[in-house]
Symmetry: C2
Subunit: 529 residues, 2 copies
């Protein structure tokens, strides 16, 4: 069963290597093991529902609790420490578009606010129950989860918006096709959630972002259904799909989406290359991104991420051997690991691999062949599980991400890391910070930073630490003209920083658009704008 | 000098082959040579300006006439026959963003309507002076036409929005870069116009549509400046660039735009292949589009376009030899010509060419090597000039285009052609109609149809014929769920059909968005929505 207060399935644990505990203590100090509140105690705190009965609305306290939060750091603190203050008054799991429509009418009639819920994996506070007198209805797309239409000729597949990554890929692969969208939340996140939060998958370099895949769908809004047809392209005015993409439940709920699919590739290969330092690695990935031959992914870890990952992998003897070999080849402490993925026809994979590895070599990259690439592939969706174990040991871990032009990458990474590393210094706490680049464009790159720090004795205090870290890093991001989110969306946590990208006039335009579709302001208030 | 009543520069004539006249007579009947009104007579008809004086506004009748129409068929009829009824009351050619802002303020103060003007190449009525009491100010971006910033590291270039295709490419090529955007109007159309009308160039298969190239810019709206930053990607809410793209002057005027540029390719090759019939050709281009290796263009002509182009080329002996050879290889009367373009590194061009030609072969395609491909390249921007000569000979020619899913391509093409071919039958007039596919996606293709018919003795009657042709073909397009425009925009001519793609709710949303940026409705009224 899905964990009620952590990531993933209860039966899956990602155990850290025995040496990891010592390493963490060395990095940020001993962790204080946490005492989490129990499910039962939390259920007991769920107040009586303010919603009148409706045949589709479940007012059971446990169901409401299980839909009350996402996976943001504040969500974790509230759920684990027992400070979760607000719960939706009811949860509906519609099975048809008609049921979605009738739920929106019901919500309007009873003056409720509506939170659209996909896989519950938001890391930026999309699911927070708004404060106030109005009752809150969560509409989960969980049961809108089947393939409704498959069209091989036109390479289109329509799904209920609540389909998860594995179910979507299974349905396509059975037919010889794939979408190729693999966010780290793949196991639980949904197609509707990807669209609503402008998600980007680990292989966006080859398959594109969700914007490129989402061909059209049906968004149920208080003002009516907005249906966007799956046209290959159009010059007929502004693209309404682009209003739906990133709308974060503020305009309505997507019940169905059509995506552009591809034939399963003949071949897929992941390779690892080590660079002697960051500068060489960054120049190599920029050159590859601008060269114009197809890859499906790259991930360049900075030196600290490279060392941390190798240290936490646990295979001490193997890693030691690897490091000795790299040392001989000129890659030492400052070494940075790059994973490269090639996906497509055998010939194209061969050509791209040869070209990419040759560019790496010209930047002093040492090719380590496929072992570490395969290890990355194997663990690509498991990293979030590590968070569970770390928390229990007394460590909080969070990530943040942006996207900037190439010339800003190095300095922005430095400033974001510096902000995080020093934020808690005044109170005598250390933060372990490392970064990778994992989504690439000819004009720039995403920056994905992980930070780890000690949990405080109380949830309140932990949250204060996190706010300090998050706000100082967010300020570093906007200072560099970076987007406040490259792949996670805005939600509550990024909302104060959105104006830097959109400008005040742009924010007002987005608000006006929300008002058009939702004149009474019932849809997911407090998120996005 | 630019023609005031036709396409292109006065010094350039595209002469039709001597045999062409006979062929046209055979196809649709003898043309009635037209007597066009003179420039002087038309200038004399320009009424006194209703605009008060402003240092940036030119109220000279000839200048106003020269900005009074675009290149749509109705525009041609009105300009050539002397029935142009409305002229802007003044034309401004600002040289700075500040001047644009001050012109918008002036227009607001004097209650004027504003028409943004780029290269004057709109073929759908973007430039029509609105009827009514309010004076009309045309703001042309002509003098906002320089490269303002070039950033090699980040592959970004910023230009004044009025830069034309050749000036833009010249500035980039001097630095070893290219944009790769080549609409047929390339010679005159502008970057701002491409963005405002969601343009697509002949090599969109390799370089993408303008949506992919436009990184950001400054749109001056009555509500203030909307500045979109040139981020590589963002998940922070709906993408405001996508509101600007396709806004057709209804929200504001773009003064500057930043585009994503690429290094000049090492290699570029154009090849021709002939298929024995349409079905084989269509299957081949679909297979190539869905295969996933890079090409920069394809253009598949149907049998009638193939025969028409070969007949009009004039090189009788050469063409006869070609046809005899094709006959021997199994390609006869129903033969369809495909031009394929490959652009990029030598190795990638080589691989893609081999793969594409091998797919063509499997669909019975006969490879004719590069001669016809090179001929296409040479004449790629010259076709619009043919319109001048045809008109003088008494023939009207127009094109229309859509984009549909693959499974609709054949039937949609058939129905569009049938609609055009039979529309004037009741009045004893014939229409010569042919089609090509020229923009390809994994999920479908554009359809580009040319139709030629006899001009009537009066402009009014010619316009009636055209309306009949245009409306019957547009109905065939929307019946197939096609977009009313794949690359030309909406303007006045496509406006009645937009609702089929956008839905009534979508149209109202777009109107609400225009109202937000332009509360008094001064920006290009009567266009788009």
């Amino acid at each position: 069963m899905k964990r009620w207060n952590g990531w993933g399935d209860e039966s899956v644990d990602m155990h850290l290597a025995p040496t990891a505990k010592a390493l963490l203590a060395e990095l940020v100090g001993e962790g204080e093991p946490q005492q989490d509140v129990s499910l039962e105690a939390t259920i007991a705190r769920v107040p009586t529902s303010r919603l009148p009965a409706h045949p589709l609305v479940d007012r059971d306290p446990e169901v409401r609790l299980r839909h009350a939060a996402g996976q943001s750091f504040p969500d974790w603190v509230h759920v684990r420490s027992g400070s979760l203050a607000r719960f939706p008054d009811g949860v509906a799991l519609p099975t048809t578009a008609d049921e979605v429509r009738s739920l929106l009418r019901y919500a309007d009639e009873v003056g409720a606010r509506v939170i659209p819920y996909g896989g519950g994996t938001s890391v930026v506070g999309h699911l927070t129950t708004p404060a106030g007198e109005a009752p809150v209805l969560t509409i989960a797309t969980t049961r809108l989860n089947t393939l409704t239409h498959f069209d091989e000729t036109n390479r289109l597949a329509s799904f209920g918006a609540g389909v998860t990554g594995p179910d979507l890929e299974a349905a396509l692969r059975a037919r010889g096709f794939t979408l190729g969208h693999y966010p780290q939340s793949f196991e639980y996140s949904t197609l509707g959630g990807w669209v609503a939060a402008r998600s980007s998958g680990q292989q966006s370099l080859g398959f594109g972002r969700i914007e490129d895949m989402f061909a059209g769908g049906t968004l149920h809004t208080p003002a009516g259904d907005l249906v966007t047809p799956p046209l290959p392209a159009s010059a007929a005015g502004p693209d309404l799909r682009q209003m739906v993409l990133g709308s974060e439940g503020r305009m309505g709920i997507l019940s169905e989406a059509t995506v552009r699919v591809r034939a399963l590739p003949d071949s897929e290969r992941f390779h690892a290359v080590f660079f002697p330092d960051w500068a060489h690695g960054e120049q190599a990935v920029r050159a590859i991104s601008q060269e114009g031959f197809p890859l499906s992914m790259m991930r360049l870890s900075n030196a600290l991420e490279t060392r941390t990952n190798l240290a936490l992998a646990g295979k001490e003897r193997l890693i030691k051997g690897l490091q000795q070999y790299l040392e001989l080849r000129g890659v030492g402490e400052e070494g940075c690991m790059l994973i490269l993925g090639f996906t497509g026809s055998r010939e194209l994979v061969k050509l791209s691999r040869r070209k990419a590895l040759s560019i790496c070599k010209s930047y002093r990259g040492v090719h380590m062949y496929r072992m570490l690439g395969n290890a990355w592939r194997k663990n690509r969706f498991r990293t979030p599980y590590v968070r569970n174990g770390l928390w229990t040991m007394g460590f909080g871990v969070d990530t943040l991400e942006t996207c900037v032009s190439w010339s800003r990458v190095g300095q922005a990474m430095h400033d974001i890391e510096h902000a995080l590393r020093t934020a808690l210094e005044p109170e005598g706490e250390r933060t372990h910070v490392f970064t990778h680049l994992s989504h690439f464009y000819s004009t720039g790159s995403s920056i994905y930073t992980t930070y780890l720090f000690r949990l405080a004795p109380t949830g309140e205090e932990t949250l204060r630490r996190w706010h300090k870290l998050k706000s100082t890093a967010s300020e570093a991001i906007v200072k560099h003209g970076g987007t406040i989110s490259h792949q996670h969306g805005v939600g509550e946590d990024h909302r104060p920083y959105l104006v830097h990208e959109k400008t005040p006039l742009g924010i007002e335009a987005l608000k006006a658009n929300c008002r058009f579709f939702d004149p009474n302001g019932m849809m997911n208030p407090g998120k996005l704008v």
